[in-house]
């Protein structure tokens, strides 16, 4: 079954730049997909359309049964509750502890305290941060902060986890730790993961399916045990 269906999607920004052109793509439930491509190839734009930060200017994008293109501003939260998002810059709240940062995602959708507590601790355990619940973000390493962000993204048990260069600020060792966490989430929770990245090493090591973009066009979609190939080099 497909969690995401994209039909003839196009994104043209107001300044005239076309970031995505005629994109057709289906992504299966439970899969782990890398999105690669040179700088400006449209990776972030694609991710942004999936969580309806941007709207496609043409075509259809269905995520978990919701047509993102037609989703009204005041209904966007319905989509957001089905997915988790992780960024390169973590986006934690500096005045809240690790626990509070993760709990925040549940409180603002009105979850009960007991339920919140259980789920937050479980998520933090999964990312290996159970011993740091009372720390503040500035008392953590970059890798740890990113793991808090991942815990926050999965705490509501979303069907889909979107990651835009989650390892962009981390050294190779920490990056692989993050990848191990994501892989575990994909396998244990069955969460569909889509991750945009520049990192050749990671893509080669993980052996997941890979989408390559070039100037907003899909140039290849390798389904099985794929590796980082020349497409990106050609795209530059």
């Amino acid at each position: 079954m497909d969690l995401i269906r994209i039909k003839n999607a196009e994104k043209k920004y107001k300044n005239g730049v076309t970031a995505i052109r005629n994109l057709n793509l289906d992504i299966e439930k439970g899969s782990f997909t890398f999105v690669i491509g040179g700088s400006g190839s449209g990776k972030s734009t694609l991710i942004k359309m999936l969580y309806r930060e941007e709207r496609p200017t043409q075509g259809k994008i269905i995520v978990g049964g919701l047509n993102v293109a037609k989703l009204r501003n005041n209904k966007v939260y319905k989509l957001r509750r089905k997915l988790g998002i992780v960024f390169q810059d973590y986006r934690l709240l500096p005045k809240l502890t690790v626990y509070e940062n993760v709990a925040f995602a549940m409180e603002v959708i009105g979850a009960k305290k007991n339920e919140t507590r259980l789920k937050v601790l479980k998520a933090l355990e999964e990312v290996g941060l159970k011993n740091k619940v009372h720390n503040y973000p500035d008392q953590l390493s970059g890798g740890e902060q990113q793991r808090v962000a991942i815990a926050r993204a999965i705490v509501n048990n979303p069907k889909l986890l979107l990651c835009d260069e989650p390892t962009g600020n981390l050294d190779p060792e920490k990056s692989m730790e993050i990848m191990a966490v994501l892989d575990k989430i994909n396998k244990v929770r069955g969460t569909t993961i889509i991750m945009a990245t520049h990192d050749k090493e990671i893509v080669n090591k993980m052996k997941k399916q890979v989408i390559t973009l070039k100037d907003g066009r899909l140039v290849s979609f390798k389904k099985k045990g794929t590796y980082y190939d020349e497409d990106v080099e050609n795209a530059k």
């Binding site: 966007v76 319905k78 986006r91 925040f104 409180e107 603002v108 009105g110 009960k112």
Partner: protein, 299 residues
């Protein structure tokens, strides 16, 4: 249950942010305070004016004298004609005889003089006393009645009452203008206060959006913040109204200068006023914050 939990959270956040942006909050609160004091004074004055103009209006009469040789038939017609005037509420008729008897009662000298007059050579005039529906049109009504045949003299008020009522109306208009101008300034200040809060919490708001908080959840704390500003702003005006009016009323013993102008009794008047002031404060706060939310939150 879920509603309550979220509301609790919103109120906590709002109170925190009122104190976090203290100087701007204080500016908004002061502005609401000044506005509401002026609103309060205008309302106190306006309700009192309304109250005693009603009293005065009750006493206001048009007196219509007919020619003394008006026939009985003609009087019957006139009763109908005058009674059917659109602005005439009711009338009292006094025939020559009635007037004569009245005068005789009033003075011993007149009594003997008038006693000699027979029905025919009684020179007194039959009289209508009219109550009008709308006091503002009393002049016009009197003019029209003057043109009717057999009507000799028409008198009403002394002009003073009219002037008084119309000058009260002018004062009221000025007060309304001042209130509207102040409300506009207040709303502007509240918008800016809330804007600052929104900006200082931009990161938090964007994360709330990402993790799927509904628009309602995102907006509510800011709307509540505006309401809190309104509530804080109405405290001084309420105290002012309650004790101010009480002192004023007691000082003048319930009447202003003459027994014509009777003040409204403080209870329950001051409680009603306080409630109105509080409600206006909250509404102005909400208008300001909703405007800010709509403008800067893009939800």
């Amino acid at each position: 249950m879920k509603m309550l939990r979220m509301l609790n959270r919103s109120i906590r956040d709002s109170i925190k942010s009122v104190f976090r942006n203290f100087s701007l909050s204080l500016a908004s609160i002061s502005c609401i305070t000044i506005t509401l004091i002026i609103v309060a004074i205008s309302m106190l004055a306006s309700f009192n004016v309304q109250n005693f103009t009603k009293e005065i209006e009750k006493d206001l009469t048009i007196v219509v004298f007919l020619d003394s040789d008006t026939s009985e038939d003609r009087i019957t017609d006139l009763k109908k004609e005058i009674g059917n005037f659109p602005n005439v509420e009711s009338y009292e008729f006094e025939s020559k005889e009635d007037v004569k008897q009245k005068m005789q009662k009033e003075s011993e000298v007149l009594n003997t003089v008038l006693d000699g007059w027979s029905e025919e050579d009684n020179p007194l005039k039959p009289t209508f006393k009219l109550k009008v529906k709308n006091v503002n049109k009393i002049g016009k009504t009197a003019d029209k009645i003057k043109q009717i045949e057999n009507v000799s003299v028409v008198k009403y008020g002394e002009g003073m009452v009219e002037t008084m009522i119309s000058s009260f109306a002018t004062i009221q208009k000025v007060a309304y203008g001042a209130v509207i101008a102040l409300v506009v300034v207040t709303v502007f200040l509240i918008v800016n206060t809330i804007k600052l809060t929104i900006f200082s919490r931009k990161r938090e708001i964007s994360i709330m959006r990402l993790v799927g908080a509904s628009n309602f959840t995102i907006k509510t704390p800011f709307i509540i913040e505006g309401m809190i500003l309104g509530i804080f702003g109405s405290i001084i005006p309420i105290v002012f109204t309650t004790y101010g009016y009480l002192a004023f009323y007691n000082h003048f013993n319930g009447y202003l200068y003459t027994h014509l102008i009777k003040l409204i009794r403080p209870e329950p008047f001051i409680y009603q006023m306080s409630l109105i002031i509080l409600v206006i404060g909250i509404i102005v706060g909400m208008i300001g914050s909703s405007k800010a939310v709509r403008k800067y939150l893009k939800v």
